[in-house]
């Protein structure tokens, strides 16, 4: 099978999976009656406002009730509450697929728009910056440290790093974040405790970038603290496993210098499995971003997700779950391409 065709099939199946996820979320929300409950609560909220407005104009209580009843029926029809939940299903799926994500219930974008796509679009870059920097940095540090340690197993350095990775794996990342804020912003007053820019934000591009970097240090460190240990451990194990293979011994037996054995034989063969682990790294960071962004008030999708959950903004939760899945699927697809082009043995 050709390379292009393999990738096409993989891409299509990923898209199908994303679609299935979306369908599942919508069905679960509908079938458990949550969707009905939220919409009814929303209608009730709306009615209370209308009652206040109407009571200014209509004095007769009976007349008022009648007008309100008419409004209620109108609203319920508009939200589709007069029919069972599955009648709302196709419409909802169609809209999300066309990326017409509708309007949020309470949360608005920074510019005041309540269109979900507006809200999410201005948040995506912020999360992407944070997650990419953290994943790339911890991959670089983790892989080079793991490879280095794999060449001297059992040394003091090896033991120290394995203790470190065991503890880093066990700490709740949001608590580490809180501790970082305490140490670096309150005690030493070195770094800002949260947000993305100082208030007021600097106008010059260079100063703005510097300000952004200063604000990003702690969130990135927090995310890294949670994933770096795993990185070191995994790359150490993979390199160790490859180093025990026959072709490595053969290379050594040929009398090749250790440097070349390491680079051309061990590292070349270790790259694909290490790459697969980037997928898990991204998955972990996307989830971790929810917690880290919340702790540091970093205005990305993670913080938005937290706000949507606490305010129970149903359209926003559905849309965000969809976008998170989409980003995750896209990352998996890119890695799939890298994997296939790096390891000629893999052809589906």
């Amino acid at each position: 099978m050709g390379l292009g065709r393999t990738l096409l099939i993989r891409g299509l199946s990923l898209l199908l999976v994303v679609f299935a996820v979306l369908l599942m979320v919508v069905i679960v929300l509908g079938a458990t009656g949550v969707s009905d409950k939220i919409l009814k609560a929303y209608v009730g909220e709306e009615l209370r406002q209308i009652r206040q407005e109407l009571s200014q104009r209509i004095r007769d209580p009976q007349e008022l009730e009648k007008a309100l009843e008419a409004y209620k029926l109108d609203l319920e029809r508009a939200f589709g509450l007069d029919k069972p939940w599955y009648f709302r299903l196709p419409d909802m799926v169609r809209r999300v697929l066309l990326l017409d994500l509708g309007t949020s219930r309470t949360i608005t974008s920074f510019s005041g728009s309540n269109k979900v796509s507006d809200i999410i679009l201005e948040r995506i870059p912020n999360t992407v910056i944070l997650v990419t920097v953290a994943v790339v940095l911890s991959a670089l540090v983790g892989i080079s440290a793991g490879v280095k340690i794999a060449t001297r197993v059992g040394s003091l350095l090896d033991r120290i790093t394995s203790y470190f990775s065991a503890v880093s794996y066990a700490l709740p990342s949001w608590w580490t974040g809180i501790i970082f804020i305490l140490i670096f912003s309150f005690y030493f007053r070195l770094l800002p405790p949260g947000g993305m820019y100082s208030t007021p934000p600097p106008q010059e591009p260079l100063a703005r970038l510097l300000d952004l970097m200063l604000h990003a240090v702690l969130p990135v460190l927090t995310l890294m603290a949670a994933i770096l240990g795993g990185w070191i451990y995994v790359s150490r194990t993979i390199v160790l496993n490859v180093a025990q293979e026959d072709f490595v011994s053969a290379a050594r037996a040929k009398g090749l210098p250790e440097r070349i054995v390491m680079r051309r034989y061990i590292l070349r063969a270790s790259t694909p499995p290490i790459l697969t682990n980037i997928v898990f790294g991204i998955a972990g960071s996307l989830g971790g971003a929810i917690l880290t962004e919340t702790v540091f008030r970093w205005p990305g999708m993670g913080l938005l997700y937290y706000e949507a959950i606490t305010a129970f903004d149903e359209p926003l939760i559905i849309a965000l779950t969809f976008i998170f899945t989409l980003i995750y699927a896209a990352a998996r697809f890119i890695l799939e391409i890298l994997y296939v082009s790096l390891d000629p043995r893999v052809r589906y």
């Binding site: 990923l14 999976v17 994303v18 299935a20 996820v21 599942m24 979320v25 679960v28 929300l29 458990t32 949550v34 065991a166 503890v167 794996y169 066990a170 700490l171 709740p172 949001w174 608590w175 809180i178 305490l182 309150f186 005690y187 998955a283 972990g284 996307l286 989830g287 971790g288 929810i290 917690l291 919340t294 997700y305 937290y306 959950i309 606490t310 129970f312 939760i317 965000l320 779950t321 998170f324 899945t325 995750y328 699927a329 998996r332």
Partner: protein
Amino acid sequence: MSGTTTSEVKFSELEKKIKRENWRRIWFRFKKSKLSVIGLSMILILLFMAVFAEYIAPYPSHAGLYIAFKNAYKPPSLEHILGTDMYGRDVFSRIIFGFRYAFMMIGLVLSIVVPTGVILGLIAGYYRGTFIETVIVRLSDIFISLPPLVLALSIASILEPNIFNSMLAVSLMWWPWYVKLTYSMTVSLRNEPFILAAESQGASTLHILFRELLPNELGTILTKVTLDAGWVILIGAAISFVGLGAQPPTPDLGTMVSEYSKYLPEYWWMSLGPAAGIVLIILAFNLLGDGIRDVFAGE
């Protein structure tokens, strides 16, 4: 007739002896690494504390709703080893009860997730190439294609926030990983001679799945279970942090850390204790998991 009975007796005795010998070997390999023995004893101690929390905690009544404002915000002292919280409750006592919820969470989640995942994985691997495999594998693919925490949080958000629903949310995101693991092992064992031999002797499918395939996969599954125990606690704590998990005054460790971290930095002892408790329990399971992995890796 008496001859067959004695040989049967002898055979069962021999079998018992072999079993005992096997266990002794496992224990021998396990205790070679000091760290895994430390992990095991840590878990046993914590479990003991969790079970007998009422008798071990210095102030058992402080676990739930209890208010004594005159004792509030006390730093660690001999009377209160880890200090008291904003209602005057002893933090150390609450942590001991917190271990109980932690073990409950691990036990419940894993007892939902592991059997479901393993059985589905066995079936999917055994019926390779049929539509049963397609359905099971695709379904778990769907769950896996969501970032784990996003899935757990979105499930927890539509349910009422309490400790059982957060366990449910964690379980729903977890089972596909066991399907994947068991499935890939079953597929590679499927065409081994001993399975073919069992099939040609007319063994039932149930026998092949649970007596031939499962015992060969148990080591890897058990390793994953112990290493996952820590993750269960972490994800549960994250759900509590967002406010969708156990609600105060439940002495759940995650809920306590997120509740008490509002009082940082002046009252640092409040959140430090429960957080250290979380680290301790996760560390213990990870050490044990490493030990178990070494035992089965040697085979």
